[in-house]
Symmetry: C3
Subunit: 264 residues, 3 copies
C-alpha cells in the first residue's frame, strides 16, 4: 500500500543526496522535507563520495548540466552503486541536444541507475523511437514511450518511470500505471524533478525500486490533486503541493490512489 510507504518515509526520514539542477534545488529540497525525508545537495568532487556514504538514495538530474557537474555525478553514482545505495537518474532534456543525450547514455552505462525517471520524450530519446523533446518539455504521451521504456529497462536492468497524464512504471515484464495528478502541474517548473527527488526518498525505504517508483508518483499526484482544490494558478499550486505533501495522511493516499498493476 502506498500509505505505508509514505509512513515509512516519515518514520525513517532517509537522507537523500541530490546532484540536481539549479532551477529546482530549492523546490526539490522543500518537497523532500515536506514528505518527511531529509535532503542534502552536494556536488563537489571532494565530497560527493563521502556524502553518498551517509545517504540512503542518490538522485542525479542533468537539467542544468555541465562537465564539472557530470564529473561529480559519475563519481557519486559509482560510489552509490559500490555501496548499494539506490540511484535515480532524471535525464532532463535528453533528446534536445546531443550533449544531454550523450551524457544521459554515459550515466546509464557507467552508473547503472536503479531507476530512470523522465518524460516520454526523454525516455524515447534513450530507449528508442524518434526523440521529439523540445527543450525540456515532452511532446509525447506516455503510452507512446512504452516500448522505449521496456527496451531501456531491459538494456540496463533498471526500472523506468515515465511521467505524464498517465504515469508508466516499467520493470522487466511488469507495468504499473498511475492516474493521479492534475494538468496544472505541468505549468510549475521542475515538477518532474520533484517526482525524481521523491522517487529517491521512496527508493530508500520501499520493498523494491518498482514499488518505490510507482508509490512516489501516486504521492506526488495525490498531493497535486489536493493542492489544485485550493490553488488559483501555478504559483499557489507550487506552494499548496508542499503543504499537501506535509499533511497527507497515509489513509487518504490509499483512498485516492489510482494505481494499476498493483505494485507493493
Amino acid at each position: 500500500m502506498v500509505g505505508a510507504s509514505l509512513a515509512r518515509v516519515r518514520a525513517e526520514s532517509p537522507l537523500v543526496h541530490n546532484i540536481t539542477n539549479l532551477v529546482v534545488m530549492n523546490t526539490t529540497a522543500n518537497a523532500l522535507l515536506a514528505v518527511g525525508a531529509s535532503p542534502v545537495m552536494a556536488h563537489a568532487p571532494n565530497e560527493v563520495e563521502d556524502m553518498v556514504g551517509l545517504a540512503r538514495a542518490l538522485v542525479l538530474n542533468i537539467g542544468t548540466l555541465d562537465d564539472a557537474w557530470v564529473g561529480a555525478m559519475l563519481l557519486a553514482g559509482r560510489a552509490a552503486r559500490r555501496r548499494g545505495v539506490p540511484v535515480v537518474l532524471d535525464p532532463v532534456g535528453a533528446g534536445a541536444t546531443q550533449y544531454r543525450t550523450e551524457t544521459a547514455r554515459r550515466l546509464l552505462a557507467e552508473v547503472a541507475p536503479t531507476i530512470v525517471r523522465g518524460n516520454a520524450s526523454e525516455i524515447r530519446a534513450l530507449g528508442g523511437g524518434a526523440g521529439g523533446t523540445r527543450g525540456v518539455d515532452s511532446v509525447h504521451e506516455t503510452e507512446a514511450a512504452l516500448d522505449a521504456a521496456r527496451s531501456l529497462a531491459a538494456a540496463h536492468g533498471c526500472v523506468v518511470s515515465v511521467s505524464g497524464a498517465v504515469d508508466l512504471v516499467v520493470a522487466g515484464d511488469q507495468i504499473a500505471r498511475v492516474r493521479n495528478g492534475v494538468p496544472l502541474m505541468t505549468r510549475v517548473t521542475g515538477m518532474g524533478c520533484t517526482a525524481s527527488a521523491l522517487t529517491g526518498a521512496f527508493a530508500a525505504v520501499a520493498a523494491s525500486p518498482f514499488v518505490a517508483a510507482a508509490h512516489a508518483m501516486v504521492v506526488l499526484g495525490v498531493a497535486g490533486e489536493l493542492a489544485a482544490e485550493r490553488a488559483a494558478g501555478p504559483g499557489s499550486l507550487q506552494v499548496e503541493i508542499l503543504d499537501a505533501l506535509a499533511s497527507l495522511r497515509p489513509e487518504d493516499v490509499d483512498r485516492r490512489a489510482r494505481l494499476e498493476g498493483s505494485p507493493g
Copy 2:
C-alpha cells in the same frame, strides 16, 4: 494591442533559452511557464549553440556572472545572432563593479543584443551619465536614464527597456512609457529578471523588438497590479504574480494597459 501579443505567446508557446542568474532560475522559469511560454535553462558550452538552435529567443542575464558563464553567454549570443534569434541582455549590476560593467559592454559589442533591459542605474552605467548602482538595485528614476537609453540604443542599434516606477522603452527616435506595476514589486527579488525573461517570450512572437519590450512590461505590470490586490506582502506577491500571469485575459490586459507611445 498588448492582449493580442499575450494571446500569441500562449498560442505559440515559444521556447525561451535562458542563461541567467542563480537567484532567479526558478522564478523566471515559472514566470515563463505561467505566461504560456516554454523555458529552458542551459549554460554548458557543449550545448548552448544547439539549444539556441531550438529556441525562439535567448535571454542573457549577468546577475551572478563568472568567466565560465560569460563564455557560454558569448557562444550562445553569437549563435543566436547568426540564426536570427532575438537576444535580450539584462546587465544586472552594471556600474556596481568594473567586472559587471566590462562584461555588459563586451556582450553589447560581441553579441549585439536585440533588446537591453535594465534598471536606470544599469542603463546609465552603460549609456552614459554617472553610474550610481548600489549592488544590483537602481538608485535612479527612469527619466534620468532617458539620454543614456537613447545613446545606448543608437550606439548598438538595439531597443533599450528601462524598468522603474515608469518604464521607458526606447528604439531610435521612438519612446514608449509604461505606467503599470506596483511599488511592492521592488521588494521581490528578480522582478527585473522576470521582466527580461518575459521580454524574451514576447520578442519571439511580436511584430518588432520595440513592441515586444513594451508589451512585456505591460503584462508584468498588470499581473503585478492584480497580484497586489490579493497579496499581503512580498512573499505572497511573488506567488500571486505567477497566478495572475497564468489567468490574465487578453481583454483585461488591454483594458488595464497604461502604455504611451502606442507601440503595436
Copy 3:
C-alpha cells in the same frame, strides 16, 4: 531593543553581499529584501573584492561549496576583514564530510569571521564534542553545543550563534538565549541560511555582533510565529515568513521577543 535594530535595518537598508548556496539564493535574497535590507549575490573572483567594498556585511555560506566558490569566499572574506566589514560564516554541513569541516576551519582561520551561525551539530563539529551532523540537519539540541560554542568563540574571537528550538548566542562570557520561532520552520529548506543572511543585515547596523546575532534570531523567530498563525504547512509558511518580515512592526517584535541575556 530588537525593534530599534529592525527599524535601523529598514532606515539604512544595508547592502549585504552573499556568497551562499544554490538552494537558498532566492529565498535569502527575498528575506533580506523583506526585512528592509538590500541583497547582492556575487561569487566571481573578478569582482568579490569590489563588491565587498560596496557592502556593509558579507555572508559566507558553504551549503553547496566547491573549490571555486571557496576560493571566492576566501578572497571576499579577507577583503571584508581588511575593510572592517562584518563577516557571517554559516558552516552548513560541517561535520558531515571532511571537506565541509576542513573548509569551515580554513574560513575560520583565514577570514576570522565576526559571527559564526550554525546548528548544534555544525558548532560541535567545529568547536569540539562529537560531530553527529546527518547531511545538513542537526541531530543535537543547542544546549548540547554550549561548550563547543564557547570554545569556538574563544578560539576565534568571534560571536557564535547556534540555532535550534532555543537559539544560543555566545560572545566571550556572555550568553543570550532566544526562545522565538516554531518547529514547522525546520520543515522549510534554508531557514538556517535565512537566519545567517538576516544576521548579516543586523550586523551592518547593530551596536555589536553579539546584539546583531541575537536580534536577527528574534526577528526571524517572531516572523515565523506570525507566519505559522496563517500557514497550513511548510509551503505557505515560507511565503508567510516573507510577508511577516516585511510587515513586522518594531513594537510587535519587542512585545513578542523572548530574549534572555539582555543584549542591546
